[in-house]
Structures are given as C-alpha cells and as structure tokens.
Amino acid sequence: MDRLLRAMGAHVTHCKSGREALGIAASRSLSCVLAPVHMADMSATTLIDALQQTAPGLKVIVIVDNPAISEAVEVMQFGAHAVVDSRRLSTGLYAHLAPLLRGQ
C-alpha cells in the first residue's frame, strides 16, 4: 500500500494505533486518514468520531476486508469519506483518495 500511495504522489505517515493517528491529526495538516475498520485500541468509527472533534473536515477512508453492503453503509453513516475493500485496494484508493490528493 505504501508504494501505491507514494505512486499517487502522497506523503505517507504511518502510525500503529488510532490514538497515535489522533495525535498526528491534531498536530499536522493531513489530506486524509486511511484506517482499517478494526484496530487494537479503537474502531474506525470511534476514530472518525474523535477526528470530527480534533480535525473537523478531515476525510477518513476505511479499509475493510470483503465488506458486506450493510457494513459499508454503517461505516459511511458514521461519517467515513469512503469504504474500500482491501481486496480491491488500488481501485478503491484511486477512486477515493486520488481526488483528495488533487485537492478536489
């Protein structure tokens, strides 16, 4: 994924947890956060909720392994910018992340 993101022109910052992501988002300007739906310390929906307080407007793309439509819809209802199937990561990221990187 890292190579793909760099190929899209993104500057990539890695973090190991939702808490770490919140800290980074509070201190720097980001175009987008990519997060798996489940993390050790919080779910993606909890992360989205927290980011809406600390960095309102920051987009979050949630990566889910083979999501059901109902699961994708639920995550979107929590405020995700997009839900991307991990099995079709490049297609999903080009569709949803590339426009954000272009500032659209």
């Binding site: 175009s31 309102p56 439509i69 819809v73 209802q77 405020g79 839900v83 199937d85 954000l100």
Partner: protein, 208 residues
C-alpha cells in the same frame, strides 16, 4: 411549509414491488405514494412536502442515482433510502457519499425497511424543524467573523480544506480552526446540515 402528514414515496419500475411496498407502508398507518419512474417523481416533487423516498437504484431511463443527483442539485433534503437487488459496495458508498440516508439490499425483511423509513421520517421532521428556524440561522450567520463567513461559503460549496486554504491564502490548519468555529457557532453537527442551513438562509433571502 405544509402541515400535512409525511408521505413515503416509493419509486420502483417493478409494479409488484411498488404495490407491495405501498401496502406495507399503509399497513402501519403511513401515507404512501408509489411511482413507476424517477422522472415521474421529479416532475411532481414538492420540496415543501415532508416525507422520505424509497428509491430503486436500477431503473430504465433515469436511474435512482441520477435522481439523487437531480435532487441534490435542487437542494432537496428529502431522505433517500436506496433499495437494490444488484447493488455492490462501491455503489452503496457512492450513494452514501452523495447524501443517501440508507442503502438496503434486496431481499430485505419488511421490518428492516419500516425501521429505516421511520428513522428517515424522524430525520426529515428534525431537519425541517431546524430549517424552519430561519431567523435563528440568520442570527448565527451574523455572528460569524468575515473570515469564518468566507470559510463557510467555500466549504459549503464542497471545497476541501486544502483548497479553501489556498483560495484564502491561509494554512490548512487555520482553515480547520475557522471551520470548527463555524460549526460551533452555526450549531451544525455535520457539513450536510451546514449546507442545508446555508441553502435555507439563501432561500429565505430570495423568497422572504
């Protein structure tokens, strides 16, 4: 604004589905109107009528997604529940990105749809009550600083923080801070709600 009971609009090209959904809505005391095409709905659409829209994704002529775009262009706030027998995740994500209230895959249980319809009607009522408070919205707008007003105008046009920053010649972080102040002062819980407030304020200005 009309004070009539909310209407559940059902738009599906399948007559059997239309009939069965209309009967389902009426069985729980809801007013329902079933239409066979997106165009038919659009031609008769009255934004002042409260309700929600149960909309099939795939239809001949104008699709459900195209109808959603048309409604968005008109500033319509009616909650849309998509139903689809051929939907996939990218389609559902796209519909939600464009403001759909929900997306339900066929076949579904009657109660699943009824629960969503009730939630959509509650959302619509809440949204309309909020929009009716036009004077309050104008007061809130007047409380914004000139810079916050600029930020609000740009973000409600769909501009990303980065673009807003470049347009105004300030950093993205500064935009985020102004944006947070705008959301707080406007009492907006989401960008969609903020957009509705701005549209309502514009509507009130044009049609006092």
């Amino acid at each position: 604004m009309k004070a009539t009971a909310p209407v559940v609009y059902i738009v599906d090209d399948d007559e059997a589905v239309r009939g069965s959904l209309r009967m389902l809505m009426r069985s729980v005391g809801l007013q329902a109107q079933a239409l066979g095409s997106a165009r038919e709905f659009l031609d008769g659409y009255d934004r002042h009528q409260s309700g929600c829209l149960v909309l099939d994704v795939r239809m001949p002529g104008m699709s459900g997604m195209e109808l959603q775009q048309q409604l968005n262009q008109r500033g319509a706030t009616i909650p849309v529940i998509f139903i689809s027998g051929h939907g996939d995740v990218p389609m559902a994500v796209e519909a939600m990105q464009h403001g759909a209230f929900d997306f339900l895959q066929k076949p579904f249980r009657d109660q699943e749809l009824l629960d969503r319809v009730q939630r959509a009607l509650a959302r619509d009522a809440q949204s309309r009550a909020s929009l009716a408070a036009g004077a309050q919205i104008r007061e809130r707008i007047e409380s914004l600083t000139p810079r916050e007003l600029q930020v609000m105008q740009l973000v409600t046009q769909g501009k990303a923080n980065k673009v807003v920053g470049a347009t105004l010649g300030v950093s993205q972080r500064t935009v985020e801070i102004h944006r947070a102040h705008v959301m707080e002062k406007m009492h907006a819980r989401s960008l969609a709600e903020l957009v509705r407030m701005v549209l309502d304020a514009e509507d009130a200005t044009q049609n006092p």
